[in-house]
Amino acid sequence: MERADERRDEALLAAIAEGDRGALRILYDRHSPWLLLRLSRRCSDPGLVDEVLQDTFVAVWRKPRAFSGRGEVGAWLWGIAIRRLVDGLRRAGVRERLVPRRRPSLEGLRPSRWAGAAPSAEEQVLLAVEHGDLAGALNRLSPELRAVVQATVLDGLTTQEAGRLLGIPAGTVKTRMMRARIQLREDLT
């Protein structure tokens, strides 16, 4: 069994810039799984998700030096992927919008009630310590507000891009963000 390549992601990008296809493969093996999972949570169309994944790595092959060197390579890859997804959704029209893949019956339930995903006591403590009750407050937001928070805060999209991703006007994104902020602030203080 081969020893897994131990080069850092930045070193792989440098190799890709020299035309090393093997380095692209290694980068792909490292990052495609989580990219696939994360994209699938934002788009229910597997064909589009596959296309976005391919587009992302072809873009990495063509312009590996576009990575500024600041921050994580993973974050850079996600930035490429989410923007391709936004473009892809805009082209595909309203049909395949963001669809949460959660089972609806689990909405808003406390973590301990979920079968098979119960966080351990340690995890619960860690979450409470790290985030205050941010997790609870986030979960108490309505799905539309949470979707906007996810798009702008977690995925780093602009209001325009978030609007395209979610299929709503940019103005609605702004008002929902405002409502989300207000609600979170009230909930946490």
Partner: protein, 271 residues
Amino acid sequence: MSWHAGEPLLVAYAAGDIDDARAFSLEAHLLACPSCRSACARLAGRTRLDEAWAEIVDRVDRPRQRVAERVLMRLGMKGHTARLLGATPSLQLSWFAAVAAALAFGVLAAYAGDRGLLMFLIMAPLLPLAGVAAAYGPGIDPTYEIGLAAPMRGFLLLMVRAGAVLTSSTVLAGIASLFLPRLDWTAAAWLLPALALTTAGLALSTVLDPVRAAGIVGVAWVTGVLVVERLAHPSFAAFRGTGQLVFLALALLGVWIVGARRDRFEITHDE
């Protein structure tokens, strides 16, 4: 890192079975944690990822399309034709930049007086002539050998290229002439000569190699215009009514010769 995602959490995440807040937390964590990322590898479909990789390799191995090629394909041209056309040396950005620069100098010269305008009118028709000469032939064309093996007849390829070069040069010169100080008949007086010179160059290249043919036509043109300018009384004599008719006649003659001797373009130019 103090906290890592356990397997159950990742499984739940992959299945869509966790709340958003924990998903946010996990996703942010994954950006920075290589070991949890590799834990994901077991959860995302292996076949799906392998198929995606095969597609990526396909696309990465495909040769990049040049700008000219992409524009042509957008206009509806077939792939192989667009590729051969896109490789024309005189349809590259660098060529257009050179043409634009030459035209700019010409326009500036025209502001210095009538002699300057004459220089513009002499120069503008030389541009498509040079462009067509640079569009094909063993010395200049990087795709010459490929073109020999192409299923398209050499003559047709040449016509397509010459047409593209002529059109693009004419459009650029047309735009430049909008900036001339006098917007009268002189602003378009180069049009027929351009056509005449180009067809003359093509016609002559059935006998000589394209670069030499273009050179001869170019020299003849410059000399001819200057001589006429010296001998005749009105300014721009070569470009007035009679002159334009002569150019039209030359253009038609050139087209006829090119058509009649088109099989000459199929033979390799190794003279």
